[in-house]
């Protein structure tokens, strides 16, 4: 955090001054470790084993916040008797379908809900990264569940959780992660001792957790711990994602993603959502508890905002104009499609995939095979210059004179040169003013898209073709000002907030949205940010002039609520858990919820309210169903649906690992997305032979001195000089083993690429003893590329493309490689070296990466199956899956 988020780290330092103990878990000793109280080195890609160890520690020692767990979680819910755990199936859950690499989730459901299962193992959900839809709400389940409040039922979630993590002992944590037992126990003790009625703990993570083939399950494991300890919905608790840039939260709320529309409404799929009604019903799930019952109003108001007068109830608000998904349109699929000549043109905004994305060579080869490419950026970046300056030019793979891509480079305005909002990790929008005019031809994104749309519409104005109606019917009218006709960002914010169509009155919040075409709302969860015609995001009332929640600084969605699910900050009867952690509570005299924050609950629904049989939507929520956006009103320790790779997190080895999975026969995530493509090879991992060709584990991350792919820092002398050259950090032990000298050169080889770097031999890296083996880890910054003031080889070139199944994020925090002293070969000899490694590792074009590595589900490779009984049980139970 000190390394990549130094400004945010000031609060950690402040907490430390006040006595907080800081634990830092990282493969290398960083600037954060230097300031932490305890540093735990870890083998990259094993965090679920570590966190699972904490879950086991909590359950075995009964350290969970029992009243909280009973009241607000699904710990007591009974799960279907068809469910079989990874403990039974050697690393697979019941319902695995090897032919699609996905799960039929029927057996994961709560008792009696089996027929409600939505995911039947077709693999379709993975194609559309459907897990992303759950960012603002839980996936659907019927509201009524069977529970055992004593937590003794063998199939209640609590007992399933206990069995599932029973083998994640401190010894196992040491064996998998390389973390000494004593250190693990120090962490587990501190975490549990600082949670409960009087204390809360916060969990902060960043892309070191997400960019894995099991990335979503990393976060799930953290969520299980925080829920068991009662750290959700309470002050000082929670799970916070530190984002990689300003407003990454904003870019999922109002998404730059292929599968979402604003406010986490799903992008329609051509087969699943043929009509407006079907689309809406797939969001609101008739019969379910909770606040998604109103989604028809949100959907209709969004379309009304898009198509204005043309959108009417009679034509389903122009639902037919919305583009449809047909499958995986994620960034990596697109790149492979570019290489295959299926994509003609590409817009690239604020992104530098030639350096920043996994498998840089594939990115560059893809972009070199387009008809046209538009790049908008602050500086000339590698993704605009690849055709004349990239590693592929030396190898002859790209010839500048023959590269067919016509690149249009358009200079962009920086964040200080335009107005708008940033949304940070607490979902808070903060308005920023324009400080200076953008120089020369630099323009904002808003200017670019508004005028692009305007010009396109002008060009098509006389078109009579039906296909052009969607564009021509758009409500595309924003006030502009200044010599460059800059559209008003505040007008856009007003539209995002929503307004009454007839009067133009801004809505005060999303409850005012209607499904009859009388309101237009650009993003329903942001509704209220322009309440009363006031830009609420621009509020700057000092924290010294208001209480500590500071509700008048900026504006947080939803409804300016600073902590979600804050009903959980009070006990089931509505009293604060403790005076110290008082936040939102029931006032019996006034008959309403009150407190420091906006209560995340129906204002006048008393704690003792119990819904009548069969009630659904908000009315179905009981007075103690604190998790109001969940289908059953409960926080999920166990996810009966929605998460595609299992109802519980499980330790799988990374897609590339020198180790056999010490826990299960199943080596890696059996549902991970693998792209079989000639350009995308995966280094062999056990039980496949030849993993020793790539014996070292490498990981990449940021330096404080640089920003992501370097486009905003390698181009700026004051930053570039601070870390002026690509380097690789190795431990003295590895340096001795390979023959590397401090400040000498080394080159690293994977099945995709060879890169070179200067060597920093440092005590900050350490080998680990893992499962009886010595594992060396290597660290690289990923900031370097071939443009800018300081240049160097790109670390991300080493990675292949393997994705998490839930959200299609790439595994770009861990891979395997070889390290050799000296500089890399240049020109065609470089390709020869990679080919030589591929030959030694038998990475032939017709090789199939083994997905299932246990015979528990009928796979061919039983090498890792150590338990005959479990394998047999798997065959029996897996048979009907």
């Amino acid at each position: 955090m000190a390394e990549a988020h130094p400004v945010g780290f000031q609060w950690v330092m402040e907490a430390k001054q006040r006595g907080a103990k800081v634990f830092h878990v990282d493969p290398r000793f960083t600037r954060t470790s230097a300031l932490a109280d305890t540093y735990l080195p870890i083998r990259v890609g094993t965090d679920i084993a570590l966190l699972g160890g904490v879950v086991r520690y909590i359950l075995e020692n009964e350290l969970d916040f029992r009243e909280y767990v009973l009241a607000y979680t699904n710990a007591a819910n009974i799960v279907s008797e068809q469910f079989a755990d990874t403990e039974d199936l050697d690393g697979l859950f019941s319902g695995y379908k090897p032919e699609t690499g996905s799960y039929d989730q029927t057996s994961w459901q709560y008792e009696g809900h089996e027929e409600h299962a939505r995911n039947r193992g077709t693999g379709k959900e993975r194609e559309s990264a459907a897990g992303l839809e759950q960012e603002s709400h839980g996936p659907p389940v019927p509201g009524q569940t069977m529970r055992d409040e004593t937590l003794q039922h063998p199939r209640c979630v609590y007992q399933i959780l206990k069995r599932h993590f029973s083998r994640y002992t401190p010894e196992m944590v040491a064996r998998v992660c390389g973390i000494p037992e004593g250190k693990f126990l120090e962490l587990a003790r501190a975490w549990t001792e600082n949670s409960g009625r009087e204390r809360t703990g916060a969990l902060v993570y960043s892309v070191g957790w997400t960019q894995h083939s099991v990335g979503v399950q990393y976060i799930r494991t953290g969520a299980i711990i925080q829920t068991l300890l009662g750290n959700m919905g309470r002050p000082g608790g929670g799970i916070l994602a530190l984002r990689g840039h300003a407003s990454i939260q904003g870019s999922t709320d109002i998404p730059t993603l292929f599968n979402l529309l604003p406010g986490y409404l799903p992008m329609p799929h051509h087969a699943n959502h043929p009509t407006f009604d079907k689309w809406v019903d797939s969001i609101r799930h008739p019969g379910q508890k909770g606040f998604w019952g109103n989604s028809r109003a949100f959907a209709a108001s969004l379309l009304k905002a898009y198509w204005g007068d043309a959108a009417t109830p009679e034509n389903d608000f122009c639902y037919g104009y919305l583009p449809r998904m047909t499958g995986d349109h994620g960034t990596y699929q697109q790149v492979l499609n570019m290489i295959d000549g299926k994509v003609k043109g590409y817009f690239l905004l604020g992104q530098n995939p030639a350096v920043g994305s996994a498998h840089g060579r594939a990115q560059r080869l893809g972009m070199a095979n387009l008809d046209w490419l538009v790049v908008r950026d602050l500086f000339m970046i590698e993704s605009a210059a690849f055709w004349r300056n990239s590693p592929e030019i030396a190898t002859g793979e790209i010839v500048p004179e023959q590269c067919r891509t016509e690149v249009f480079f358009l200079p962009a305005a920086s964040h200080v040169e335009k107005e708008g909002t940033f949304t940070q990790t607490q979902r808070m929008l903060q308005w920023r003013e324009k400080a200076v005019e953008p120089p020369g031809d630099c323009r904002s994104e808003l200017w670019f898209f508004y005028h692009l749309g305007r010009v396109l519409r002008e060009k098509l104005a006389r078109s009579t073709k039906p296909r052009d109606r969607a564009l021509l019917d758009l409500a595309w009218d924003y006030p502009t000002n200044g010599p460059n006709a800059e559209p008003s960002a505040e007008a856009v914010l007003k539209e995002i907030n929503g307004y009454e169509v007839a009067t133009g009155r801004p809505l005060s919040g999303f409850p005012e949205a209607r499904d009859d075409g009388s309101t237009a709302v650009g993003c329903w969860i942001y509704s209220g940010v322009y309440a009363d015609g006031v830009n609420q995001a621009a509020r700057r009332k000092s924290r010294h002039e208001q209480d500590w929640v500071a509700a008048e600084w900026g504006w947080a969605w939803p409804a300016n609520r600073r902590i979600l699910y804050n009903r959980a900050s009070a006990d089931p009867e509505g009293r604060p858990w403790s005076e110290r952690k008082k936040y939102v509570w029931w006032d019996p005299d006034k008959g309403e919820w009150t407190g420091y924050d906006v209560p995340d609950f129906e204002k006048t629904k008393p704690p003792g309210y119990r819904p009548p049989e069969g009630a659904s939507g908000p009315a179905g929520l009981a007075g103690d169903d604190a998790f109001v956006m969940q289908g059953d009103g409960k926080a999920w320790l166990y996810a009966p649906t929605g998460v595609l790779d299992g109802p519980l997190p499980t330790h799988y080895e990374p897609a590339e690992s020198p180790m056999r999975n010490p826990l299960y026969g199943q080596q890696a995530n059996p549902t991970r997305k693998v792209y079989e493509h000639p350009v995308n090879s995966v280094n062999p991992s056990p039980p496949e032979p030849h993993s020793q060709v790539f014996p070292y584990v490498f990981t990449v991350s940021r330096l404080t001195e640089h920003h992501t792919a370097g486009g905003m820092s390698r181009t700026v002398p004051r930053l570039a000089e601070l870390q002026p050259e690509m380097f690789v950090e190795v431990s003295p032990e590895l340096a001795a083993e390979v023959g590397l000298a401090h400040l000498g050169w080394a080159h690293l080889v994977s099945g995709r690429a060879v890169i070179e770097a200067r060597v920093l031999v440092t005590d900050r890296l350490t080998p680990l003893r893992v499962d009886g083996r010595l594992i060396h880890q290597i660290w690289l910054p990923y900031h370097f590329g071939s443009e800018g003031l300081v240049t160097g080889d790109s670390a991300n070139d080493l990675f292949g493309i393997t994705l998490d199944p839930n959200v299609l994020i790439q595994e770009s925090k861990v891979g395997t490689c070889d390290v050799r002293p000296g500089r890399r070969p240049t020109g065609p000899a470089l390709l020869d070296l990679v080919a030589d490694y591929q030959r030694r590792a038998e990475m032939t074009p017709d090789r199939q990466v083994p997905i299932v590595t246990t015979d528990a589900a009928g796979g061919d490779d039983a090498a890792g199956s150590t338990d005959e009984g479990s394998a047999g049980a798997a065959r029996n139970r897996g048979g009907d899956a």
Partner: protein
């Protein structure tokens, strides 16, 4: 009437320099125990003061690629990797399959990496054996006696480790030798008690460079003039905080009236001692030291030498009166001798 301590000893420098209505003396307290090594101070300083780059060179001195304070680097963050216990609950590398530390060896390698920063003397090459000694490794290149007593762990595996970070800056000495020797009056004492070079007056004679006991002030080769931290004189005049202190995210760099800072620093040291960090100490805070105390002083976690600071700096003009006295005596004696010779000869 000049103060008796004009050249040595405790003194309030601004009134001494003739400022009639000087406010309190302003300065920096840099608390290295909370420094996270982000280098925001270096960037903010260069940004505000328009300081050019100092070369794009990988120095291999841990994460320090600036090297030293130069005419083109007015803030410099030092990074020191040491196999020594820090405040960690358990040693960072306990129970791990580690070998002996390498920090001494890599520090020695890095000591030879000085490159042309476009300034003079810039970042001169260091002495490998000294660099290794500062890194406090248990052994170095067959010279086992190289580290101070008590430093060697004797172990062949490393378990303890700490990473020191420290943002260095011009000390704005009470008795500033650079100012004393400046023949043009380019260097002057401000009303805030700080020491500033006026670049339009500096003639590039370079006397100040050899006068500075800390090796801070430095010349740009292209224009020959001397440059260093001004403690953001222009910002101070406008009632603002210096750029580096403003940018520091963890309040490692604190700006304010020197008296207050000294008080705060004393409390901080006491607190760290209380929390089991007996190695915490102040540097440059003492008005009775060799430079009369620094306007920019530090809280360090090791000996000053480890950070590249002189252990006992003395203002190079301290002995001027004595020297002048002796020179005067010598001149008188010579004159007397000459007179005597003349008188004697004529007799």
């Amino acid at each position: 009437m000049p103060d008796v301590n004009s050249l040595y000893g405790p003194l309030d420098p601004a009134p001494d320099a003739g400022w009639v209505e000087a406010g309190p003396r302003m300065g920096f307290f840099t608390d290295t125990s909370v420094c996270i090594g982000c280098k925001a101070c270096e960037v903010a300083c260069k940004e505000w003061n328009g300081v050019p780059d100092s070369g794009f060179d990988l120095l291999g001195m841990s994460y320090d690629n600036t090297g030293a304070l130069t005419a083109n680097s007015w803030r410099h963050v030092a990074f020191i990797e040491q196999p020594r216990p820090a405040g960690h609950g358990t040693p960072p590398f306990e129970d791990l399959p580690t070998g002996p530390p390498t920090s001494a060896r890599s520090a020695a390698t890095a000591a030879g990496t000085a490159t042309d920063t476009g300034t003079d003397p810039g970042v001169p090459p260091g002495r490998p054996e000294a660099a290794a000694r500062m890194a406090a490794g248990p052994e170095f290149l067959g010279m086992p006696g190289a580290q101070p007593p008590g430093r060697a762990t004797g172990a062949d595996t490393r378990t303890d480790f700490r990473w020191l970070m420290m943002s260095d800056v011009c000390k704005h000495c009470t008795h500033a030798a650079c100012l004393d020797v400046c023949p043009t009056g380019s260097l002057f004492r401000t009303e805030f008690g700080t020491v500033v070079v006026q670049e339009d007056i500096c003639n590039g004679c370079g006397y100040c460079i050899s006068a500075c006991p800390y090796g801070v002030i430095d010349q740009r080769k292209d224009d020959g003039r001397a440059w260093k931290c001004t403690l953001c004189y222009d910002r101070l005049g406008a009632g603002k905080t210096p750029a580096c202190a403003q940018a520091c995210p963890t309040e490692s760099i604190q700006f304010g009236p020197l008296d207050e800072l000294r008080e705060r620093a004393a409390q901080r040291v006491a607190k760290l001692h209380e929390h089991g960090m007996p190695e915490a100490r102040l540097y440059g805070h003492d008005p009775t030291d060799g430079v009369g105390g620094d306007g920019a002083f530090f809280l360090l976690l090791d000996e000053p030498e480890v950070y590249g600071l002189p252990p006992d700096p003395v203002v190079t003009t301290r002995d001027l009166p004595k020297m002048w006295k002796r020179a005067g005596l010598a001149a008188l004696a010579m004159a007397a001798a000459a007179v005597a010779a003349f008188v004697g000869g004529s007799s």
